[in-house]
């Protein structure tokens, strides 16, 4: 039933009108929240690469928060975490859709370094400079971001990470 409506809602996420985008995002959030416990497999069908890309575009410029109010932003990230928890396939799709960039920007406010070099000599010094710069920006950015968003971003990171071997994490 929802499958027919789903592409329409997904298109709504791309519009410029603020309230429309807000309501479409709330709709997506409620669908994910209600499906993730009982019908995890149907959720996998719904939350596919297209939807994740659309959500990513919404979240990405943290000034795309001109489109979404802060509360909805938080709930959206939280529902991404719920979806990733309920199904490994969704977690992999999230990783493939380059949500790393989005998370990096949420936590730091700058773009992640695009050069991935495996040599130790050059990259160590380059990363040292970039690392020092990132420190200050991280602290400033963390101070200005609402606390909920930082917590939800960390929850999403935690869900995306591989699970621990059995019996490790007690608390």
């Amino acid at each position: 039933m929802i499958k027919d409506i789903w592409p329409i809602i997904r298109n709504c996420l791309g519009y410029a009108d603020q309230r429309l985008v807000d309501f479409a995002a709330l709709c997506v959030i409620r669908v994910i929240d209600s499906y993730h416990r009982s019908h995890a497999d149907k959720l996998e069908l719904l939350v596919d690469a297209d939807l994740i890309r659309a959500v990513n575009v919404l979240l990405l410029p943290p000034g795309g928060s001109s489109l979404i109010p802060a509360g909805t932003f938080t709930l959206l990230v939280k529902s991404m975490a719920t979806a990733a928890r309920s199904s490994p396939t969704i977690a992999l799709t999230l990783l493939k859709a380059d949500i790393v960039t989005t998370l990096y920007q949420i936590l730091t406010g700058v773009m992640p370094p695009t050069s991935v070099s495996s040599e130790q000599g050059d990259s160590a010094s380059g990363q040292g400079l970039g690392g020092g710069l990132a420190d200050m920006t991280i602290m400033q950015n963390l101070a200005y971001r609402p606390k909920d968003q930082v917590e939800e971003a960390l929850t999403l990171i935690q869900e995306l990470m591989p699970p621990l071997p059995k019996g490790m994490l007690s608390s």
Binding site: L107, P112, G128, V150, L154, I157, M161, P162, P163
Partner: protein, 160 residues
């Protein structure tokens, strides 16, 4: 018998979704062995092969709603680790970018939930990677003082 068949259908559907990444015979045999253990009534291998041929959307539409069994949730962690190991490119990129962030977040924050979550994610990342990958992550991704911060964090947590 009907219940066993439905349960094996559901495991085959999950394996079919995961099996697009993994090798199909392994996923299906694992699914059939998983389906064997709780019920005791063995569905035939021919049964599973026929179900594997059905596209996942059809099987999912035909399934009635099953309650989540303990077996179902226990399978998911094993699948997840394997799934992530089969895609090392995205996983290592993710971990290499995020681990320095997590160290800084831990060092910069005061609120306990934030610190707990960042530490848990750090723990997961280090537990997942083998020695060679860890070396790459720690040396390429971290500047010198951040490396010291990382060691300090580990030492403090272990001494507590």
């Amino acid at each position: 018998m009907a219940k066993a068949k439905v349960k094996s259908e559901r495991s085959a559907a999950l394996a079919a979704v995961v099996g697009t990444h993994a090798s199909v015979p392994d996923g299906q045999s694992a699914a059939s062995s998983r389906a064997h253990t709780p019920t005791g009534g063995p569905p035939t291998p021919g049964d599973d092969d026929a179900l594997g041929a059905v596209p996942p959307s059809e099987t999912l539409d035909n399934l009635p709603t099953l309650p989540h069994t303990g077996l179902w949730t226990k399978d998911i962690p094993a699948d997840r680790t394997e799934l992530l190991r089969q895609h090392p490119a995205e996983t290592t990129k993710f971990i290499n970018l995020i681990v320095p962030l997590l160290i800084d977040v831990y060092a910069a924050s005061v609120s306990v939930p934030v610190r707990t979550k960042s530490l848990a994610s750090l723990l997961k990342a280090t537990a997942f990677q083998n020695e060679e990958q860890l070396r790459t992550t720690l040396h390429v991704g971290l500047s010198r003082h951040r490396l010291h911060a990382f060691y300090l964090i580990i030492y403090l947590r272990m001494s507590r």
